[in-house]
Symmetry: C2
Subunit: 340 residues, 2 copies
Amino acid sequence: MEARRKVASIRDVAKRAGVSISTVSRVISKKIPVDAKTQEKVRDAIDELEYRPDLIASGLRSKSGKSIGLLVPRISDPFFTALIDHVDRCVISHGYNLLLFNTHSDPVFEEQVLDNLVRRHVDGIIFSLVSDESRAMELLTEVDVPVVMLDRVREDTKLMQLVLDNRKAGEIAAEHFLSLGHTSIACLAGPPKIRLCVERQLGFSETLKRAGHPMDGRHAFNGDFSFESGLAATERVLRAVPAVTAVWAQNDLMAAGLLKGLGRAGVKVPEQVSIMGMDDLLVAEIVSPSLSTVAQPVAEMARRAVEMILKTKDKMTITRKVLLKPRLVVRESTAKIRKG
Amino acid sequence: MEARRKVASIRDVAKRAGVSISTVSRVISKKIPVDAKTQEKVRDAIDELEYRPDLIASGLRSKSGKSIGLLVPRISDPFFTALIDHVDRCVISHGYNLLLFNTHSDPVFEEQVLDNLVRRHVDGIIFSLVSDESRAMELLTEVDVPVVMLDRVREDTKLMQLVLDNRKAGEIAAEHFLSLGHTSIACLAGPPKIRLCVERQLGFSETLKRAGHPMDGRHAFNGDFSFESGLAATERVLRAVPAVTAVWAQNDLMAAGLLKGLGRAGVKVPEQVSIMGMDDLLVAEIVSPSLSTVAQPVAEMARRAVEMILKTKDKMTITRKVLLKPRLVVRESTAKIRKG
DNA sequence: TTGTAAGCGTTATCAT
DNA sequence: ATGATAACGCTTACAA
């Protein structure tokens, strides 16, 4: 039962080292020169007392808690999981900490969380909107914190934006199918409330139309980006097969659901139907057949988001909007169409 | 270009409402009775000024920032992803915030992060050790913060522990195979540096031995819990087949890798080899055939961890150690052995 | 280079 | 029930 001695404060260190507290502060922050001998005395005192600066107190005074907040609609969505992982890496490598929040796709909660972050004086906020109807950004335009909207954004704002060229993603998917000879093609889109789904859809359908193979309106399906919704869509997709020979799901998880459903129904992929996903996450490699997909540069997305925050903070440059490019990844789930 | 008026402080509210700052504080905290009329005045002032209490300042004085820290070795490991998701839910529902950290399986980094958390005055720490060699807990025993060690723990500590009965998990897997008539059985374990892998292994092999079908030492493989390591293990597993008719992987991700590898090699699961995983995460349902597995109660784990933290803080009870039970989930990847 | 002292925006402790 | 005032532990002018 050892005594739990009270943790040392900067005052204790100053006393022990025989200097003032400001000197101790200077030694720690390294911003202002301090005599070598004095430094040594202070460091010794710090070691002896096992002193660790209180980050809350420091944050109160300096108005920077060295932390960045990240908000995502659903932690368990593999795209956001990957994003979290990468953002975490970057944030840490710059000496900041990550505050993670799940908005659970709830606009009300989203606002609460943002409010909370602001009141915690985070040095920056990176977030993906719940839906196009979110008014969350309005809370943020009046606040003096760098904010980067990511992935799911709204155009009508002054906040910084970092988005994929979703229209291009649709084009890439369509072109891949066309190049394989498919002409009757369906799409399993995400919730139309989320603007990027519409963008992807448009890029996809317009490319098909230009090629002379417009989508049949009956072959536009909807899911909610979950595995289950992909699985549930199988039934509708089956009614369209074999007229339809190719389906693009707007994320890998739904594509995986579709794959599973088709497998159960005894439909061969890619022999009878070609399936394509989007995101290029681990799940695309795990399933059998592995998924051809449209890759998003998640790592780059994360890196740039953090950089945008930090640059704004240091009043370097302020980037308004960055558009990232998707990329085609061909695996096993797509193949040349077979007649008959 | 609208003026960005300085955010209101508690002082401004007090002045506007014509009361003292302590009264404002009382109205907000609701801990101490305040006259109804006064309350109204204060609330009005708060609304008019759009006042929001500064959480940092409040935290400094009260020594509670209303946040809980969570440390995991790898965010992108689906088990930890699920854990994060559930812990987040619980933490939020109790009015706390989540600080998430990835230790990247690095003991040095692990210590830094823990130190950081303590200095941020988090109200509790939930964490899973990097390895049995971590000395991280030593930093924490001297500190006055509730700590729950989860999943990967060390016994030699006074910190609270919340673990699965990993031995039992091994037994369950072995019994399932035995009940299907398998007698030559292999195991793809996680890193032996992580104690729970050894526990699982022991429960598994001892059960087989008791049944008169001891494991052949050559049939104990190792991976690192990643999909890739499962895939990489295929080669070694193939050399053991067809003598070996069943393999238990110590997590679903490695099992998925194995499934993928065997599929490529043209080996049928479960017709030629039965495969079993552990965790029971989404990945077990996504792959084909879907994985029979030993389920961990992740949600319960998360809930209890948060409860243990909160109860300790409120000086209610202090639970030393909680042991959770694994559960068998049968899907498609295991089947009765076929002679010939 | 170093010390003194004034905050940062709360909550907690006394009085009243 | 309310108010004045002292912390909380640090950073940061401003002096010396």
